[in-house]
Subunit: 245 residues, 2 copies
């Protein structure tokens, strides 16, 4: 059974998303909500803590509980949200458009193996795309992104990708049956190669941000989201996000 405080939190989140509690408005008091949902005030408070933690509402003594932000779209669970946060922080926001340039199977040579932290010869599915600012009429690209996915899942990923190219979210949510996901990410400054020049609408040799993402699926036992930074190479840093789903 769904936990009561979770139910209350979800109900309120949906009410905010639906506009029943517009941004800036004040929610009913905790006692009123407790009565409406037929739960104790403690339970309402537990729900409120969630909403507050996610930044949806702010609370002040006797100032009521104000709705501070619009609720996020439904269907995105905690992990996706965490990833989206990481994404928002590290990359270019969730609103940036992506255009897939290339989907290819690659075998790691020694250089790539070093960069990805794997043994040479390992197979990867590499999805290269270009990001641009949405709504920009000139459609100027802002970034080149390489996504590396564990080669063992290449076929599955290809199938799930289908026509639409929503790499992000699609992967995490549609590849079921896998109990574990690991993501590594690098950001670096690079010179624009001849291959990149045309899609990036710039000249070869220009300066560009490069983002490399790695998706791994395993069955290791790790309990929590962790995040660490390993500045290994010059002009390069990486993060890792682990989570047992």
């Amino acid at each position: 059974m769904e936990k009561r405080y979770a139910f209350v939190a979800r109900a309120l989140t949906e009410a905010i998303a639906d506009g029943r509690h517009p941004v800036g408005s004040v929610l009913p008091t905790e006692f009123e909500l407790a009565e409406q949902f037929a739960v104790s005030r403690s339970t309402v408070r537990a729900a409120m803590q969630e909403l507050q933690a996610s930044g949806l509402v702010s609370r002040k003594r006797n100032a009521g509980t104000r709705v501070e932000a619009a609720a996020p779209a439904r269907g995105s669970d905690g992990f996706t949200q965490a990833l989206n946060t990481i994404e928002a922080v590290q990359q270019f926001g969730t609103e940036t458009e992506r255009h897939v340039q290339r989907v290819a199977d690659v075998v790691a040579d020694s250089e790539l193996a070093t960069q990805l932290g794997c043994r040479p010869g390992r197979r990867w599915l590499c999805i290269s795309s270009v990001r641009m600012v949405p709504g920009d009429a000139t459609r100027t690209p802002i970034c080149w992104t390489d996504v590396y996915i564990d080669g063992a899942f290449a076929d599955e990923v290809r199938a799930k990708m289908g026509g639409h190219h929503e790499i992000f979210g699609t992967l995490v949510e549609k590849i079921s049956g896998r109990r574990f996901v690991e993501i590594r990410q690098d950001i670096s400054a690079v010179g624009v190669s001849r291959e990149m020049a045309e899609p990036l609408k710039t000249a070869a040799g220009a300066h560009a941000l490069s983002i490399r993402r790695q998706y791994l699926f395993a069955s290791s036992e790790l309990a929590e989201v962790s995040l660490s930074v390993h500045p290994a190479d010059r002009f390069r840093y990486s993060t890792r996000l682990l989570r047992q789903s």
Copy 2:
């Protein structure tokens, strides 16, 4: 008076930091802690929630409460930690060394004003530094960082900086009396200028990551940490972190 759950959380955090509860060990049960601290189990749980939220411990039904990570050094409050997290994610980790290259008062021309989102003519204190991987004998720089601080606080900051060049943390913690801090941050790919070439140990024109930070102090009324992404320019993104202290 310090709230009891805060006291318990602090006591446990310090106990973990001191090694009384080493990483990997299991804490006493909630009932035992309640007895030791002479509080109710609810209070202990409230404290535990804090520790869990900060990633210090993990809890499992009847598996006890495990210590998962070393406690951070004392003296860093929530805001500093949040900043350090952001820092860890966006930049090169808290362990990277910094070497200050230049501290200068600058007046924003039209270009800088656009980049910083201010009116031309506004005064800023600009602190430029180079980051390098700690422990690297070759001391290879990995990044050039420009920190812009509201010119109104230039003198104060200069005074507080003193000899040691811990820009980060020093600022946030030592500039008291200000109830509000706003930070903006940009990461971009740039070509190495002639000025940067020598400290970065590379040739002018090479590709480098550039990080620009902006510190503002105001008295606006905003209650919570928020974070948004504004991909304004090509090869550029920014984040904002707001917090009332």
